[in-house]
Amino acid sequence: MISVVLVACAFCTQADNAKEYLFHSWTTTPIIANVVVGLPTEIELNQVKTLLAEVRKKTTSSDNTTAQKFMHVMIAGIEMEYEAEKVSHCLSYIESIDENLHGIAGSRVLRFQLRCAQLQGDVEKAQSFATLLREFDGAHVEDAAVLCLYDIERAMQENDNELAQQLYMDFDTLMCASGAQYVRIPVALGYARVAKTQENKVYALVRLSQWLEEFGYEEEAVRELLLSWLSRLQPRIEITTSSVIPSIALLAAELATNSELDTTDANWEEITLLVQAQDFQEAILLLEPLAEAAGERQDDAIALLSMVRRVTPIPLIDAFECSRDSKLPIAMSRTFNSTTLQELFQQAIKQTHTTGESAWLHQAFLLLLQEERQIDDAVLAESFRLIGEYTQAKQFFVKAIALEGESVQLVCGLADCTRDSKAMSIVIQSTSPGDTSSYWYWLANVRILQWYAEDGGEPVEIAAKINRLRKKDASLGGAQFISEFNALLF
């Protein structure tokens, strides 16, 4: 009996590890998104193959849980983008799941069903899955991207390029607003993937580069990025001033006037490759000496270094000047743009969720919130909630839910501000104590118990509930929650 339990626990841990390993890479780098949505480079494709091989090692084929089947669907769903025979594998794994999946898991399975139907050329099935995905409540942004590209492809098939362009622009705006920056480049490349004409292929890429310039990125750095994206297109696009595509002819003219672009510079080539492969730390190491030394590449290096530093995460601790006495943050170390500021917010939120509230983080939030920049409503809402400003947090939660739909984070945050125990119960049912959603599971449980106690609930019921929760995790969600649970017992 004990051995059966141990084996079951081992399977459970393996499945969770594999899921976390895969989804961490999926949502923190654009590599997988480039494979499943956009146009991957050879390097990216190999990286994904290696990653999936590692994920497969972490999963076990003999386990038959829904989580395990879901992992197989994810792996086959990615692989089928470059190995056609995996479509049937993906479909058989999906059929083996006999539970209704909700949230991101549900939208992800629907999105793979849509892709399977597309890859098999089954128009009717594709249409029905597209409808289901469109009606799905709370679809993940990357799954919504697949649906958007499906709509774009259909518009293009009907020669309605205006509609296709409008769909792309609307979705790009949505991605900006929802903080899903990592999907923007893959979606622009995905637009090129579904487009049939050369002019259509470059449309989204040129629009994205224009947005970057308007946003404040250096012109030359953006041009480098655009060239790297265009190099992914098959067949290759000739960048000449005589090109029939106006934006490409303009790009060629700009390149011709910029004599500093010297393709014979081997060091520069290596840097470009590193930037393309998103290896920003290595690129910075090579760029720094080039930017300091006087040479024909100095200006390029300064521009690219500036751009790379903007997209490379800055450690939270480096973003603040701290008091010598109290060690608490007293001012921002410098001015940050919106993207970096948003990353800093997210780091602070993640740290608070992991280690609990502290005076340092509270002060950091106050300083970040003083910065007047374009930040996601969801991020602002959660930040205000964590420092106890429930009235302001509530306003931002309501706006974020209206814009992005209901997610566990938003529903739980709003429920915390409005003391909504029913919503908290729904959060408990949508999360679990041992995976990446555990913070919300324990927060919902502790809040319901606190509100129950405040309303004069039975102490024995509270003690019993806490004892039952201990059966799920003896640490009751970790240091940030255990003290709150213990306070309820005395």
């Binding site: 319901i448 309303d455 024995v460 004892n467």
Partner: protein, 134 residues
Amino acid sequence: MIDVVFLLLVYFMVATEFKTAEESFPMDLPLRQGGTLAALDNEPLVILVESSGVQASDVSIRLVGPWDPVVSLQGLSAFLTSNQVSLISMDGLFAQTHPIRIQPTVNTRWEHAVSAYNVVVDANYTNITLDDPS
């Protein structure tokens, strides 16, 4: 002299105003009725009951959840009694009012399901549901 003193006494008796003591007035405030008590998210304890024969002892019990394994009616009785929380013993897992569902299978004999029900009643639990066979 005595006349003057007498007159002064009469004057002060008439002019003096004694301060009345503060009184407390009871108020009949209504009992708290507005607002609903935040409800705990109490998942019911599900007890699966299966019959392996026709004898009273031919019954097997299984608990759904992360609980210590229980196989017999005696074990169930011990589990429920030892894990009942009270003001004296706060180590238990279930309050008397915790929802408990007894779930027989289609092959479970009626007397076995009722036996399980009776064990739960004997353990002083009050919120019990006997599910349809599944």
